[in-house]
Amino acid sequence: MEIFGIPWSLMLSQLLLGLVNGSFYAMMSLGLAVIFGLLNIINFAHGALFMMGAFFAWMGLNYFGINYWVALLIVPVVVGAFGILIERSMLRWLYKLDHLYGLLLTFGITLLLEGVFRSFYGVSGQPYQVPALLSGATDVGPLMMPNYRAWVVVASLTVCFATWFVIERTKIGAYLRAGTENPKMVEAFGINVPVMVSLTYGFGVALAAFAGVLAAPITQVSSLMGSNLIIVVFAVVVIGGMGSIMGSILTGLGLGVIEGFTRVFYPELSATVVFILMGLVLLIRPAGLFGKEK
C-alpha cells in the first residue's frame, strides 16, 4: 500500500519518529513555558540540563550500577535540586532586570556545564543500552515498531498531560497561573512566592532531565546533545507562543510529526522546516499560535 508513491510502512515509521522527536520538543518547551511564565527567565540552560539528565543516567549505570528505571525517577529529582540551587544562588537576583540578563546568565551556565562534561568525556557519544524490558520491536502489521520508541512517546505524553492537568485543574496549578499573572498579589494573599518560584524552576528543570534520561538510549549521550536540541526547541516555543501549557505540548508534538513527514517527502528540508515555519508564524502571528497578544 502506498500514499503519494510512498510506502505506507515508511510513512508510519516516520510518524513514530516524528512523535518521538515531538515528545522531546513538547517536554522541553513545556518546561521553558512554565519557567518563563513565573520567573520571566528565558532558560537557555534547558538544553544543558537535558544533557546533564542523560549523563547522570549514564554515570549512574556505569559507576553505581543504577538501572534505567531507577535513574528515570532519581535523576530528575537530582537535576531538579541542582536547578533549585541555580535559582536560589543566581537567577533570583535577576527577576527585576530585563529578560536579557537571565538569558545571558543561563547561556553562561550552559557553556560551563557543557565545558565540564566535555573535559571529562570529550565530544564523542557514550552508548546507553536500551533497558532489557523494552528492547526489541513489536510487529504492528505494516511496521516493526521499536518498543523503546513507543515507550518514549507514551511516557512523555503521560508526563506532559499530567503537568497540564496539575496546572490547569488543581489548586497548586491555580497558584502557578495566578503567580504567572501577578506574583506580587499572590504573595499579598500570604503565599510564599519565593519558594513557589524555586520549586517551579526545579520542576521545569526536572522535566528537562526526565527528557534527558528518556533520550539516553536513543541518542548517544554526549556533551553537545543539549545544544543540538535546544535550538529547535526555542523555535518550537516561538511557534507555539509562551502563553499556553497545552499550546506547548501540541506545538511540540505537531512540529515533530511535520518534521518526520518532511523527511519522507523532501528530506533536504527536514532540518530546516521548523525554522521556516517559525519565520511564517512570526510574520502572521508574532505572539505564536497559542500565545496571547500583548
Partner: protein, 252 residues
Amino acid sequence: MNTVARQNPIVDNGHNTAKKVLEIRNLQAWYGESYILQGMNITVNQGEVVTLLGRNGSGRTTTLRAIMGLTGARKGSIRINGVESINLPTYKIAHLGVGYCPEERAIFSSLSTEENLLLPPSLSKTEKGMPVKEIYDMFPNLAERKASPGTRLSGGEQQMLAVARILRTGAKLLLLDEISEGLAPVIVQALARMIVTLKARGYTIVMVEQNFRFAAPLADRFYVVEHGQIVETFAASELESKMPVLGELLGV
C-alpha cells in the same frame, strides 16, 4: 527575631482599652529614587473603619502598598497586631492577618471566578476565613457566575470578588483601595452595606477613597494625606466642623 516584638499587644496601651491593630510610626517609602511617603503616622484600633483622604498622588495608595511591603525601600515602623513588620516579606505580612484589595482589583484572568475566590489560603490555623456559602449569600452574583473566567465579570462583580477573596483568608485587618471607584450607585450601596456588616463583625478596615460621599458615613475616623504625610486627622463627629478645611485640602 520577633521575640521582642511579639509581646502582648494589649499591654502596651495603658491609657486605652482598644487594641491597636495597626500602628504606623514615621513610615517612609520609596519607589526607586522617588521619595513618596515622608514620615506617616497612623493608628487604627480594632473594629475601626478609617479612611485615608487626599488628592491623587498624595500617597494614599502607596501607604496601603507600603503596609503590604509592595513598595521599594521602607523605613520607620509598622506594627500589625503588635508585631513589627517593616522588615518582613510580603507573604509574612499577610500572615499577620492582613487582607489587601488593590485599586486595580487584580482579578486573575486565567482563573475562574470560584478559583479566584478560593485561591487565597487561610492565613492562620485558628482564624478561619468566611465560609464560601456565607460569601455567596452576601454576593449572590458571584455564585451565579462562579464558572466564568474572573475577568469576564462586570466591573461591580469583579469588585465584589476582589473584596470577597480577602475575606476567605481570615484576615481581620482589611486594606481597601478605592473599592467604590467607577461603579454604579446600586453596587456602591451594596459595598457600603458590606462595610457596615464587616465592621459589626469586628473587622478593622482602612479605606482609601476618592468618593467622599461613600466614605463619609462609613468611617469612624479620617486621615488627610498630602505629599506623603498626614496633614489632618479627625473623628467622624468632627466631620461637620472640618468641612471648610477639607474643602480647601481636597476640593470636596
